[in-house]
Symmetry: C2
Subunit: 353 residues, 2 copies
């Protein structure tokens, strides 16, 4: 048997999987949280968890907003699984912390004392919480926490930038895969019409900015009600971010199709950034033949999308939003630094908690 | 109020949705199965249902193979929902029947007496079963049935070809979206390595043939055990269909990655055609940076795919397999007519039941 701590781990963390054996950490029921590192691992002292929005919403709903019960369930999940992996939504979140120890062959380029955010999901990150989450009221997806987490050889982590506050940087990096993927797909069309469902939100506002930078001919932000529209309107913080704001319930496919058409659609590219179920049909119907839909929402149903497009005889390409695109964190941070509307929307949401 | 039978329906069938109102038929809990047609509808006398494989497997497993219980549950589902929509898997299947009545403004080009297969899912097709499924033992996904179904203006149906038997044509059309989409994506790469997980199956064999026709540089079929490998091997019916056969459990991501690498991988394009859960990680790991994974399996988990790719820092494009691509039925039937290996595999599976 290899002495623990003296060997190199598997780059994707297979050596940390306790059950079922042979699956990847993300698919595992339970991970090994031993604080002793393999040569290529990094241990991080955790400062804050940022729960995935769909996960937090599920917990909040299940417990009718009882923060103590939400906290107990998060502690129970992390204790049982060795990771914050919501079994209902299948999603996790990310964390911020400080590098505590670096294995001698870690390829991540981190040093002890670096303040970082993880850009891989909490669903595959070994995690131990040591403070009982005493500083968290269970009422927000931002979770102050003390404990530690383990990064593998192939994990992705980014140093927190010095010119942005930690909560802001964390909020940006949490959704940084979206604008990078949008940029790539916008470039496949000439002057495309880009529809962003949830355009006033964090990932949505970054996607709108990325779409314009990448050459979108027209952008349409879809928001669920007037208050969100005001964020993007004449005197709102996000004024100027999009060519058009459409107030529409994205779960109503016909209303969405008709609203987008009236606003200059159909879309060549539709981006789904809202964490509510049932948006698949509307996104497909609002998109032109030959167009593309990118689903970033963890509330997306694979079968609803696949069968929905087939049932509508819609020749659209449907993409599962991959949270990793090379350079994604740098691009998103760059947008927040240089686009005043995006920055203002993020600042506004930070204030709201 | 408009007199029923004298008006044109909504092309995607919204007028048939009973609850919840406003959603598309696929998302509906219950559809209106009134046999009286709108002007643009078609009524089909049903002869046979072909249940989605994932749906049938779930029913079989739930009832421990008790065919009577499976039949009762299918009857109960169709009676309650007005469509064969498995609430657990979210999937349906397709049907074969004969056109019974055609609304005067139907755009489908069908005539009374045409023998057709529906190419839209049963999850959105109003359906009434009138014979209690008396001719079905509940032990096969092929369900002899008498009753009727309704097609909308934008439904897709194909006349059964005269040179192929009905069961064979149905089996081909059931999976005809897959080869058409594969053909399109293979063309985006130069001499790509194409891996088909489930390569000896119906959609898998069509995908292998489509990949080669579209210019794949190398094809690798992944099968779960020796018996499937023999179907594609030296003396098997599918001999010659693929460049390499790899026996591997696709739910074991590391084994799949290593096996594909040894067989000439990694893949530029990986196609998932097996209806078992847990293949997301392996498909991602077996695919090269910049490559594409297409998921056709209804057992695919959206969050497992999205978070899995992020967790592996894998820059792969992940596509939700859309069952509709223009010309899909013609392409698949053409492959079966002209590729002796594909034809032999289909004939073999028909014999197996």
């Amino acid at each position: 048997m290899w002495p623990v701590g003296c060997t190199t781990g598997d780059p994707v963390g297979l050596h940390r999987v306790l059950e079922p054996l042979g699956v990847l950490p993300q698919a595992a029921e339970r991970l090994d949280t031993d604080p002793v590192l393999r040569d290529d691992e990094v241990r991080v002292r955790v400062e804050r968890l940022s729960l995935d929005a769909a996960s937090f919403r599920q917990l909040e709903g299940k417990h009718c907003g009882d923060g103590d019960a939400v906290r107990r369930e998060v502690l129970e999940t992390v204790g049982r699984r060795g990771k914050m992996h919501n079994p209902v939504t299948g999603s996790g979140g990310m964390l911020v912390g400080t590098v505590e120890e670096v294995g001698e062959s870690s390829p991540l380029g981190l040093a002890v004392g670096d303040r970082i955010a993880t850009l891989v999901s909490l669903t595959l990150t070994p995690l131990v919480i040591e403070d009982g989450l005493a500083g968290w009221d269970g009422r927000s997806e931002q979770v102050p926490a003390d404990g530690y987490a383990i990064l593998f050889g192939r994990s992705i982590a980014a140093r927190l930038p010095e010119d942005l506050s930690a909560p802001l940087a964390l909020a940006v990096m949490d959704v940084c895969g979206a604008p990078a993927l949008v940029e790539r797909h916008v470039r496949r069309y000439a002057d495309p019409v880009v529809v962003v469902i949830g355009g006033a939100g964090k990932s949505g506002s970054l996607c709108l900015a990325a779409a314009r930078r990448a050459g979108a001919g027209r952008t349409i932000a879809v928001v669920p009600h007037r208050a969100e529209a005001d964020l993007l309107g004449g005197t709102g913080p996000g004024h100027g971010l999009t060519d058009h704001v459409l107030v529409c319930d994205a779960r109503d496919p016909v209303a969405l199709r008709d609203g987008v058409a009236a606003a200059g659609g159909p879309a060549d590219l539709t981006i789904v950034c809202v964490d509510v179920p049932g948006c698949e049909g509307g996104a497909i119907l609002a998109t032109a033949e030959g167009g593309t839909v990118i689903f970033f929402s963890m509330a997306t149903s694979f079968s609803a999308a696949a069968l929905g497009a087939e049932g509508l005889a819609a020749d659209v390409t449907m993409i599962i939003g991959n949270g990793y695109v090379p350079g994604h964190a740098d691009l998103a941070l760059e947008i927040v630094r240089t686009d005043p509307a995006v920055r203002a929307l993020f600042d506004r949401r930070q204030l709201d908690g």
